[in-house]
């Protein structure tokens, strides 16, 4: 068992070590001191307020990762998480403004609207794949551009609140009543820690994300649907012969993936209270990276979401201390991803070979005594 864990952890650790080496070299080449930079980052991250920031950043990253992972588990590459979450985000925000309900209903309605919208938008790519043979990688990327460059911009203009003066910043939706906003969970944390200062608020979506992670885990390990999903990813032909309907599976997986993607924007919505003029972007692609780094595993993705969030948040401190360019954190994310992906390729081969050997050896010790009988 320990051997197994060491096996699993070896690759990402090696990738991370390599990342430290390469990014240090990059910093040295451009005249920065990597040790200063890294100690700034770590020092910064040891503060409670920074940790809240990290969790706030890790939450949408994790949701985004789970969204991508649902597709990856069946070799379905949903590269369009970005468009799906923005689309779910703006529709949910608009629905939220149109409703006046008690919080206990208002919040779930908004969340579910976001999930359904994101899911339906993602399902388009699934439907195109099964009915028209369109590769989902290209179609999700195109749908991404269509959502971001076209639909979102158009809706931002159409739904902006009526005000005396229109400015660029009024683009977006009107504010949602407070009943529609998920409260922060500072109280929960402060049971264990001191008070969170500087107006830091830990997003309530953290609990939702944890719930999604648990649901994802149960889906894969306990549910028949999850079994079918994984079987389709491991061997689509065997899955089909085993009764899994491939077309329904593809559309369902895309819907589910998009539905989780829909939740990503809810973190920002709870904070902003509306769909703003310049919503946070890039979470979709970052989520793919987090999923790949975490090997689509619910726990692994949690680790990598925290790592990515730590790096993202560290950009701020580097900018203020000027020990190194803040762009180094992006490099570190990129390198750790590529290195990990390669390292996983290597460990998978080693693991396959090891297992074959171990199995053959275990059998040989038995079979030397019993000659093959016919």
């Amino acid at each position: 068992m320990i051997r197994r864990i060491a096996f699993i952890a070896a690759a990402p650790l090696a990738a991370f070590a390599l990342t430290l080496v390469i990014s240090s070299l990059a910093l040295v080449v451009f005249g920065s001191n990597p040790i200063d930079a890294f100690s700034d980052m770590i020092g910064h991250a040891s503060e409670l307020e920074t940790q809240v920031d990290i969790l706030n950043r890790a939450t949408p990253l994790y949701l985004s990762a789970v969204a991508a992972a649902i597709g990856f588990r069946m070799n379905l590459f949903n590269i369009g998480v970005e468009g799906q979450y923005l689309f779910g985000y703006i529709i949910a925000a608009q629905v939220g403004t149109m409703l006046a309900l008690p919080a206990i209903i208002h919040i779930p309605v908004i969340l579910i609207t976001a999930m359904i919208t994101g899911g339906l938008f993602a399902a388009i790519a699934g439907i195109l794949k099964v009915t028209r043979g369109v590769n989902e990688v290209i179609s999700t990327i195109m749908l991404n551009s269509i959502a971001v460059a076209g639909i979102i911009a158009a809706l931002q203009g159409r739904w902006q609140p009526e005000q005396e003066e229109f400015t660029a910043t009024t683009l977006g939706t009107a504010p949602i009543d407070d009943t529609g906003l998920l409260p922060n969970i500072n109280g929960l944390v402060e049971i264990f820690t001191r008070e969170i200062e500087q107006g830091g608020e830990l997003t309530g979506m953290l609990l939702v994300a944890i719930g999604v992670g648990v649901a994802y885990h149960l889906l894969l390990t306990r549910m028949r649907f999850g079994f079918d999903l994984r079987a389709s990813g491991l061997n689509p032909f065997a899955a089909r012969a085993g009764g899994v309907a491939p077309k329904q599976m593809i559309v369902a997986a895309m819907f589910l993936s998009g539905a989780v993607a829909g939740l990503i924007g809810m973190v920002e919505l709870a904070e902003e209270g509306r769909f703003p003029a310049d919503p946070i972007q890039g979470l979709g692609f970052a989520g793919i990276a987090v999923a790949l780094l975490g090997r689509n595993h619910p726990g692994g993705m949690a680790f990598s979401a925290l790592l990515f969030a730590f790096l993202d948040v560290s950009a701020g401190i580097l900018q203020s201390t000027q020990t190194a360019t803040k762009e180094i954190v992006n490099i570190m994310q990129g390198i750790v991803l590529l290195a990990a992906v390669i390292a996983y390729g290597i460990t998978k081969r080693v693991q396959t070979r090891e297992e074959a050997r171990a199995t053959a050896e275990a059998l040989q010790s038995v079979e030397t005594n019993t000659e093959v009988t016919v």
């Binding site: 290209i138 269509i146 460059a149 639909i151 762009e327 490099i331 390729g345």
Partner: protein, 412 residues
């Protein structure tokens, strides 16, 4: 129709293009726009097409060798940065070369991951697409003190074709034949002349080179030893290895070459299209190049036509401030969809025909009931076009048989 299909490809494709221009001319004569066939439209089309085409052609080499290359976008971005940097530091031509080297670096990474370590091709490509912009931001910040923009770059310049578009030969002026024809107002003929002139006047050297790459690539892939071995790597690598061919080496060369071409496309963007490095200016052209590759059925001529098609819509959108040209495009769409529908009917593909009919009707209704289209529609038109093209053609195509499959020496 079947007579046309029997023509050799080098005759057939230009014929399709002429039909396309004819449709544009007809539509233009009943619309409020003249932009559909202007010289500048053709020029913009070509400018936008070149990076798409180069990325697509890079994809062709990579995918013909069996390696899916979704990382083209990242390689294009590397080419953008390195091209800009090289151009600023060492001059225009060096910029192109350095841009290609930058793209090659991306290709090398992709080859190492997929060919040597068996990483899933799409996963490796995605990783490169995430790494490349991060790297260029970092480098731009360190070198130019801004993560997203560089100073102005130098361009290698352009060239007018003598006689046809009034270029000079050894300093002597030549006539501008296409200009004269373009001014004649002869219906259709002057439209063709204008569009052609847009391709031949003030055109960037890289653009000419890109067009030359069509016959060059065809020759390399189908007539040379390198090409045959490249194709066996993509069709049946095990059979190739059994004949003593070093499949790994061919895959490496092909994937690096795809990075070189995408890198050139990127360098073209920063030194010619934008005149500087600007983060985000790749605008998904690597991905659209892949769509052009699929549209072109993994053949160079087809990739060029696909790239020109997408480039046309991009170029038109750029110059269409009042939305009239995009409005006229609704009618072009309608006619194209009717054509697709008719073709589908002749092949007994009823579903395709019905789908084309519905979409064509919607497009027609929109055209009739409006005078202009909103700007968001023109913004997304290129992407919608990519999707439509794939919706109707994806199933008709044949990709290399072993595309995306892992290969290891000693497998059988």
């Amino acid at each position: 129709m079947s007579a046309i299909l029997k023509l050799p490809a080098w005759l057939r494709w230009p014929l399709y293009v002429l039909v396309g221009i004819f449709v544009l001319t007809v539509v233009q004569s009943i619309s409020d726009t003249e932009r559909l066939t202007q010289v500048a439209t053709a020029r913009e089309m070509l400018r936008f097409s070149v990076p798409i085409f180069l990325a697509g052609l890079g994809g062709l080499f990579s995918e013909r060798s069996g390696v899916v290359n979704i990382g083209l976008e990242g390689m294009l971005i590397l080419g953008m940065w390195f091209g800009a940097w090289g151009s600023i530091e060492y001059g225009a031509w060096a910029g192109l070369a350095i841009g290609m080297a930058g793209g090659a670096l991306g290709g090398l990474l992709h080859a190492i991951a997929t060919v040597s370590f068996g990483v899933d091709h799409i996963i490796s490509g995605v990783a490169i697409n995430i790494l490349a912009p991060a790297l260029t931001r970092f480098l731009a910040d360190e070198v130019w003190e801004s993560p997203t923009t560089s100073p102005r770059t130098e361009s290698v310049g352009d060239w007018d074709v003598p006689f046809l578009a009034g270029g000079t030969i050894f300093g002597n002026e030549t006539p501008d034949i296409l200009l004269s024809i373009g001014q004649t107002e002869i219906w259709f003929v002057h439209d063709v002349a204008q569009l052609l002139r847009g391709l031949l006047r003030g055109t960037h050297f890289v653009s000419y080179f890109a067009i030359l790459l069509v016959p060059i690539t065809t020759w390399i892939v189908w007539r040379t030893r390198f090409g045959l071995r490249l194709r066996i790597a993509g069709e049946d690598p095990v059979a190739g290895a059994a004949q003593g061919i070093n499949i790994t080496r061919y895959k490496y060369v092909a994937v690096i070459l795809s990075g070189v071409l995408a890198g050139l496309g990127g360098a073209f963007i920063s030194t010619e299209l934008s005149g500087l490095f600007q983060g985000g200016n790749s605008a998904g052209r690597g991905f659209i190049g892949l769509a052009a590759l699929i549209f072109g059925n993994w053949r160079p001529g087809g990739v060029l036509i696909g790239a020109l098609l997408f480039g046309y819509v991009f170029g038109l959108d750029l110059r269409d401030l009042d939305g009239t040209a995009s409005h006229a495009m609704l009618l072009v769409n309608t006619i194209a969809l009717v054509g697709v529908g008719a073709w589908a009917l002749s092949r007994n593909r009823t579903t395709d025909a019905i789908l084309a009919g519905i979409l064509g009707t919607l497009s027609f209704i929109w055209w009739v009931s409006s005078d202009t289209v909103p700007s968001w529609w023109s913004n997304i038109l290129p992407f919608v076009l990519v999707l439509l093209v794939l919706v109707f053609f994806a199933q008709r195509l044949r990709m290399p048989a072993a595309l995306g499959m892992p290969f290891r020496k000693g497998d059988s």
